[in-house]
Symmetry: C2
Subunit: 239 residues, 2 copies
């Protein structure tokens, strides 16, 4: 038996108008995303766009020497593959599944067709893309000015906002790759948070036990991004 309004778990899909939905629904394909899976490689054309339901996808910039940094994170509020409708077809960044879960996907061609109908879907996607711009910008400034401690808090909160529950399956090694810092640095910062009783870290599983405590410790970057996402995505698009 099919879950009746499953797709609504993704807020972009959930905000569609009737006619858009009826056009798209038959082509939406539910897929399970596994940890570490790559949805998009640098310079390659994606076959689909992905609308996460309870999964998280990281957009990573990978450099020649293999070092990487997460530039944005996408969850139920967004879509992976904006370059398909923005017209560039590819991007130099990678999209990696950071937290396993489900997503709907839609063939690139169909996404573009819907986008160019210039309806509510287009407006939502553009506003979402602007939110993504803000997240990237804030990531840049955070990378420059804030300590690993603060960045870890930001990362935890941004991730937590995108999944149900308060637990992340994630090794320190992977977090370090996301933040673009040493694994030992994450160990140290996570240790401080642990000692302060904010999180409980147990071999690849972080449980946030005091969310408010994290919010008190995080840098302003988290709030800036969150406010902008709320502003851009939680209201109806106005033209």
């Amino acid at each position: 038996m099919l879950a009746p309004h499953d797709f609504q778990k993704n807020s972009l899909l959930g905000s569609l108008e009737e006619d858009e939905l009826s056009r798209l629904l038959p082509d939406l394909e539910k897929v399970t995303l596994t940890l570490g899976e790559s949805l998009s490689e640098s310079g390659k054309v994606m076959s689909h766009v992905y609308f996460p339901l309870d999964s998280i996808v990281s957009l990573l910039c990978v450099m020649e020497n293999g070092a990487s940094t997460e530039i944005a994170v996408v969850g139920y509020e967004g879509v992976v593959g904006v370059s398909l409708f923005m017209g560039g077809e590819t991007t130099p960044s990678r999209a990696i599944v950071q937290s396993a879960g489900e997503a709907y996907r839609l063939k690139g061609r169909l996404m573009k067709n819907e986008f160019y109908r210039a309806g509510a879907m287009q407006r939502m996607l553009l506003r979402y893309t602007q939110a993504l711009l803000t997240q990237m910008a804030q990531t840049a400034v955070c990378n420059r000015h804030h300590s690993v401690d603060q960045q870890l808090c930001r990362w935890l909160l941004l991730s937590l906002d995108r999944i149900p529950g308060n637990q992340l399956k994630m090794t320190q090694e992977l977090i370090a790759n996301m933040l673009g810092v040493r694994r030992e640095g994450v160990t140290e910062s996570a240790g401080k948070l642990q000692k302060s009783g904010l999180i409980d870290y147990r071999r690849g599983r972080i449980t946030v036990t005091d969310r408010q405590g994290l919010e008190e410790r995080v840098c302003e970057c988290y709030e800036v991004v969150k406010r902008e996402y709320d502003r851009l995505l939680e209201h109806e698009a106005v033209m």
Copy 2:
């Protein structure tokens, strides 16, 4: 006497189709941008979008404590004010004139009207916005992984690509604000470039004397951004 095809100095305007041009031309207003002028403040709605001709505009993320970082730079190849057509109306970042010069501007409302006609203009603007995304992403990763030396080279080259000539009017203090580092750090890095004979720095005026030398010293980030801009903007938009 009017310069006949002045607007073509901006490549977005220059790539418009006949009918678009005839609609927009009467409303394009030529303005002179002065060094340090602000075109957009955090959270405020811009009245116009700006198409630089020979000026450079920096997009800055400013934090509560006043520290800032440049997240992207816009010149003749682009437009300042993407949030107007992306639908968000405002952004949390500021737009500051980094190099004085001229630009055409267009009222926000008219920009949106043209955008929603979904013609060549829309496609160009979207591709440009994707290029901007790439620049921000690469800035984030560069801030994380590269030395001030390398970042200064990147900044010089990106700026130089956007103006005629090989001279920038710019104090080290301002460059430091852009890069989000100490002024002394810029002094030191610029000193190295000077000793290597790549630039000539004289109180607020940098002359690049060996562009190729800079390109040999810059990190990969410059090339990634440049390639993506070329790819996305120098060809006709394909749907």
